[in-house]
Every structure is written in C-alpha cells, then in structure tokens.
Symmetry: C2
Subunit: 229 residues, 2 copies
DNA sequence: CGACGCGTTGATCAATTTCAATAAACGTGG
DNA sequence: CCACGTTTATTGAAATTGATCAACGCGTCG
C-alpha cells in the first residue's frame, strides 16, 4: 500500500469508541452497519442455537476487523460480543465503499486478511472434527498465542487470556466441566496457569506438542492486516 | 460488473481441462499455483492428520473457486481433491494478479464470494460444535441442496450427491459406521434415498426440520459468484 | 476370478455430557 | 464496608452419544 493509502486508512479509523465487556457490537438478524476494527480488548463471534447452546466461531483481538458484510449479506447470521472492555474504530458503510472502490491496494489487503481468516476457520473445523478434547484445547491455545504474539500481546514469553473456561468450552464444542478437567491436565503439564477469568499460557512449546500443532498454518501467515497498518 | 469485466473473465476462464475422480488438484505443502474454477463435478478441501484421520473442510461444486491464495499464503495448509470426474478452468497467477489489480469490480466480487465462503465455514463450526449427529447430517444435506439448487443441479426437486457415506463422515467429524446409521434414520423419515456412492435428497423440507436449519444463512446468500458470471 | 471399496449390522467400549453440589471471586446496592 | 445475588471454578457420579471392533454382502474393476 502507498503512503497515501495508509493515510486514508488512518483517517477512516481515527474515530474510536470504547465499549464495556459483554457488550454486543451487533446481533444476529441485524443489518450489517459499520465495519469494526478492534484496537484494544477481546471479542468473539457467536451464535445462540434454539436449544440455548452457544457456539463461538472466532476470537477477535486487536488488529482484527469485523463485518465487511457491507452490501453483500443482507443480515448477520451471528452476533459479535466483547469479552473484555474494548476500544474499537468504526468505518461507515459509505467510507468503506469509497475505500474499496477507489483504493485497490486496500481491497487487495482485505482479500488477504479474509484468506487468513478462512484458514483459521478451517483449522477450527479440523480441530472440532478430528481432535480429542486435550488436543483441541491445546491447539486453540497455540493459535491464540501466536496471533497474540503477532500483535504484541505476549509479555515475557507468556500470554494472559482474559477469558473464562466457559468461553473456551463454547468455542470448542465442549462442556465447561470437561474443559475444566482438560485445564487441570494442562496445568499439571506446566503448560498453563489458570485463574478465575484468566488463563495464562506459560509453555506454548509444550502445548504445541500436546496439540500436534502444525505451526505452518499460522506461523508463516500474513501478519499485518488492514487494521494494523 | 460491466460487460467488459465479464468479457475479461470469460477469456480468463476459457482454458479448461478435465480431471478424473479422486485426483488431487493441489496438495498440502504445495505453493499455490493457478486459481481453479469448478465448472463441472465435485471436489473437496481436506487435510490428513498425523494419526491418519481425514477432515474435509469444504465441498466445491460448479461455480466455486479454489485458491485465491496467490501471493498471500506461502504454502497450502490443506489439499483439494476431486470427488467425481470434473472440468475446471484455471487462471494463472499472472492473469489473476492482472484481474485484481485492474478490475476493481472483479476484486469486489471476489470479496463477496469470500464472505459467503466464510459464512459457510462458520455454519460448519456451529454444526460440529453444537449439533448431534442427526442434525449435523441433516444440516449438511440442506446446505448442499440449496447450494446445488442455486447452480441448477437440482432436478424434479431432488438432488443426487455423487458422494459416499465415508466422505460425509469425514466432513462432519463422524465415523462412517455412525453416518450409516444416521442415514438409515433419514431414509425411514423418507427424507433421502441411499445408494452405493450416491445419496439422493428427496425431501429437503423434512431435512430442514430435522436439522433445525436456519435457512436464512444460505437462503438469502449471494448466489452468483465470480465463476458463474 | 479375486482384490478392493463401500454399505450394513451387531456388540462392546470409551470419551464426553449431564446432573448435582460446593466454594471462591466479583459486582452492586444499601 | 458489608450483604447478597451472580458468575465462575471445581469435583464426583451416573448416563449417553458416538467410536471402535468385527463380520458379511455386494458391486466394480483390472
């Protein structure tokens, strides 16, 4: 992207706002509005099923964008909720349209970030389909560690996730009680520390072994996204 | 897209080739080459795990495109294999680059198809995480029915899938044995017929009920893709 | 003809869920 | 600052879904 593209992007994301934890940014059934760019904090995409269960489909951390839907899908098929207090930038549909129409490099960057997102979704499907609960949890921990490291969230080789075990359960298709038992194992392996409302990854290498983690899928992935430019 | 855009696309996809069933179009670890566009036949994205299990992450049918990776991801994290004899068009990386750089409407169309693909991947995650085996199979049947109908593959209200139960099992994270038992139920419900190497969806409405199918997620989805233009 | 892949069924096994109960941490209003 | 309601973590025991193991029939293809 040219300096000018970056400048335009900076202007578009200049308007930020803060939202509290557990706040829905958009709900299933809503017509997609502005594009959100996470600047601080964590959020997730999720869907509530008729029987009451919740399935989380993605975690959003700083640098991630949500809802490029603009003009494409009529309504949201899932909701997005903050997991922590967050600061987000919003780009109006009009601005977004203008950006995509007249700034080819930005459109191409968006295509690349979508490819990365798709790769992540596919990796989740592999985990949910063919990995047992231990490998599943460990694999997710690895993914989050690497993504977080790419945006500078890892300190002293450790990552603190401001996330409850319930959230992990809802993202892996497991039960909170079972996730708890898995974390007990991971703790015994000295791979993690577990506190209320917070998980600390202390030994990602150990986790990678337990997960059978193919670091190729994220290690070499495109690090910079539209938002982090 | 303008007439000219469509003309350029037609030229780019004019060169077609046929491949037999069970033929790998690209393997995990390969450097992405040309973009494939399915014109006839079925294929799937899949990954083989160290322990030998296979997980299918997507079904590709006429109109779908594979591997826009060009210039973005260094290597493939999964493979793509034909399930039936197929005819495909290929667009060279050079052509693709040219298309994306100079044909904004085409790039925007690509963004939209990626959004649809992402929505499908998320729906799979929901199924794998929170639906039992019966709803899972039924939901997949609904998805395939609607996608196939959108590209004119449904005849007399029925869809014949040239797919084995093993393939279904590998896409849903189930066992072939168990999938077989589920199909027995679906057959009893008169929702499907089952032959060797072929599944026939006869009553999609019944399937939708069994699946708790939220037809919003695909019903209103963007039907036309880059390829079907 | 024979090997192989696929569908089918039965019997048993095991991973994960469900149910239940307790305790610790947190936020809120008084 | 405390009481109380709520959320989360934790553990045990029982129940269940789906996996695993095993066997057989059948059609296809070389």
């Amino acid at each position: 992207m040219s300096d000018q593209d970056i400048a335009v992007l900076s202007v578009a994301t200049a308007r930020t706002r803060t939202v509290p934890a557990r706040h829905d940014l958009i709900l299933e059934g809503d017509v997609p509005g502005p594009v959100f760019v996470m600047l601080e904090g964590w959020a997730c995409r999720y869907k509530i099923l008729p029987e009451g269960g919740r399935q989380i489909m993605a975690f959003l951390m700083p640098g991630d964008t949500c809802d490029i839907q603009t003009g494409s899908l009529e309504v949201m098929y899932h909701s997005i909720k903050t997991l922590t207090p967050a600061r987000i930038a919003t780009i109006s549909p009009r601005e977004m349209h203008e950006l995509l129409e007249n700034r080819t490099p930005i459109a191409l960057a968006l295509i690349r970030t979508q490819l990365v997102d798709e790769a992540t979704l596919r990796a989740w499907i592999v985990s949910m389909g063919r990995r047992d609960s231990l490998a599943r949890v460990a694999h997710l921990m690895c993914e989050l560690f690497i993504r977080a490291r790419n945006v500078g969230l890892v300190e002293d080789g450790e990552l603190e996730l401001p996330i409850s075990q319930i959230v992990i359960a809802d993202s892996l298709g497991l039960t909170p009680v079972h996730v708890n038992r898995v974390f007990r194992t991971l703790r015994k392996e000295n791979a993690m520390r577990v506190d209320v409302g917070s998980l600390v990854i202390t030994d990602p290498a150990r986790l990678a072994v337990l997960a059978g983690f193919d670091d190729a899928y994220l290690h070499r992935r495109v690090i910079r996204t539209v938002a982090s430019q």
